[in-house]
Point group: none
Chain length 218, copies 4
């Protein structure tokens, strides 16, 4: 937990620090992220940093929590209409909102995804131990609900499928960044194309694991 001093800082400075740190962790991952580089980036003294945070880990935990909260907040509007949507529409909205969030906050996304992809890293277990629930948990939950409601086949392993779905979600974001970079596309235009792509993805999810499936014979 950051120290009092950090919270007492003027908003602008605090955001500057947070921003610098996020972009550092986004670019280098946990281990190679350098406190020295962070303080240089945001123009504070090394000593000041340690008046704001206990240590590197403290900063990282703070950021991960914050980032996770921000993401949850971004998905909140969708989650609130949870009752009205069927499973696939819900997933679709989550994917779309996730992509929009990623487009708005690429650094945050990169940082978050690093952790998602480095579950073998010691820091991951510490964070999970501290009680942060990952985005993946959301999917497990709503998937189980969907099975109960008969919207999804009951012969699947929900653990496996939700694991797959969150992978797909992260993968889609990754693809989005990668493709945008390569094609140097105008973001606006490009994003529209992305919506179709997501729709397609959802479509194939649905017809794959949905209950309807008259044509699901192998």
């Amino acid at each position: 937990m950051p120290k009092e001093t950090f919270y007492n800082l003027p908003d602008k400075k605090r955001q500057l620090i947070v921003g610098s740190a996020i972009s550092e962790f986004a670019a280098f991952g946990y281990d190679k992220a350098s406190i020295t580089r962070i303080v240089n980036k945001c123009g504070i003294a090394k000593g000041s940093f340690y008046q704001y945070f206990e240590d590197k880990k403290d900063l990282y935990f703070y950021l991960v929590t914050k980032v996770s909260e921000e993401k949850v907040r971004a998905l909140e509007p969708v989650m609130q209409k949870r009752g009205q949507y069927d499973f696939f529409t819900l997933i679709r909205e989550l994917f779309l909102e996730g992509l929009k969030f990623a487009a708005r906050n690429p650094q945050i996304t990169l940082m978050g995804d690093w952790l998602f992809k480095n579950k073998g890293h010691p820091i991951y277990n510490e964070i999970v131990g501290v009680g942060l629930q990952s985005a993946q948990n959301i999917y497990t939950e709503i998937l189980e609900e969907a099975i109960k409601k008969g919207q999804v086949r009951d012969d699947i392993d929900p653990g496996f499928i939700s694991h797959s779905i969150s992978s797909l979600s992260v993968s889609a974001v990754e693809y989005y960044f990668q493709a945008r970079e390569e094609k140097k596309a105008r973001v606006r235009k490009f994003d529209e194309g992305m919506i179709d792509t997501i729709d397609l993805l959802i479509d194939f999810l649905k017809n794959g694991i949905g209950t309807k499936g008259k044509g699901r014979q192998q």
Copy 2:
């Protein structure tokens, strides 16, 4: 590229070094992998290491190439029957063979997957720049073929879908290791269960993106 001296080494010693290095990169990722630990593990002198390899990066490139080749070789038998299988059967075989390979070579798999998951890492671009094609490329290729043959819908973005498929592949392996760990299952019994899971995954891929799809109405 390793130096001449490395290739002049007796097979056994070379394999010892490779094995030690792989398990190091598997356990710690690129950054935290330690040359010191590697040379200790395989009992060679620090100086010798630098007579075999230019530097850490050189070793890593070599291993990644080698590992990638090994994986390709493992999937070769399947790929050779490429003509006989339809797309989904082919994918199924690839997934299964991939899982078997992972079970036989967990270290190699971990090391490979680290790279797959750290595409943002500086080292990734260097490797791609050097010209290593990833496993993902396989999927793009056969997917495009499948579209041509009418086995897969032609309204999909092959780049995106193949990206998704390779994510699913890696994700499945990850899930496999994770679940096996948690359940401390007997490997034999456990693996059988995994086949069903893969079948399910393929099934949902097929009925999702296959052309048949009478029941694919949204």
Copy 3:
């Protein structure tokens, strides 16, 4: 020398600061004593501290002086009866009073003894240079007097013997603390035992360096 501001402080606050500082120096010695910990302990601001004292050294000098004065004050009653006592009785009273003082003020004692034992430390010479006379000086003085009065042999080096006596004094206190700790003795009971020990010590001092000594032939 503390600044004006320090002396303008309300008594209670001043004492609080002094107490916190003493216990800090007692526990950690000069080098490892932390200004931060001191100000936290007594609840003043870091900046305030530097409005009271020039720096860490200034505080330390002040405390050493103060502590030394307090000790002198504690021994004053004994010293005033100096004329009535013979040397050994005087020493005995000083040792006893010193032990009592130590028992009442363990922190002060620890702090003082640290300095006594770290005469090689840069800070020691600075303090002596500034003109603080140590407790040892007392012994030199009264020892010389005793020689004059014929109570102590005149073939001794008074410098050396007084040095030895003050060492014994500090050593006795150290032993007292140590033994009390180990035996977890009730302070009351334990202290009584200590009186005998002191008596013994004095006895051996006396018959060692006293003039009487018919039996002193080697």
Copy 4:
């Protein structure tokens, strides 16, 4: 324990390092001793230091052990004639030999005495825990023996008296250095005077705690 590398060093270099380190610890004590200063003093690279020793503590333990052994070795000849000497002669020889050792090895002595005087320091307990016996133990042992043999009164607390004696021993060395410094005496001449001083000290010890004592009435 130092690493292999250290023991493989040429004697001269090893001694250079040991010397630099000892003089550093002698001058600054454990906490303030600086690895940077040590490596600069003996002209090795910072990294080299850590190929010789695990860390600062490792170096310190090594030195303390070494220094302690050297001192024991210096006193060995005396201790071997233990049977032939009576207690006071033995003590006298030990004191004298100790002084000579101190005169020959002032740095070593300073370093050793720092530890002796800082028994409250965390490092002390660690060292004792590791099993290094202090010089004080010698005195306890031979004192108890002397009591058994009837050379020393049996109404004393051996723990306390041996504690006092070792204090006197250290104190004498301290006095020796101090006085020599102040008087800038020629070492040769000065040392001779010191012998008399020691004789005197032993004399007063003997007639104090010896059994003979017809004249020990208070």
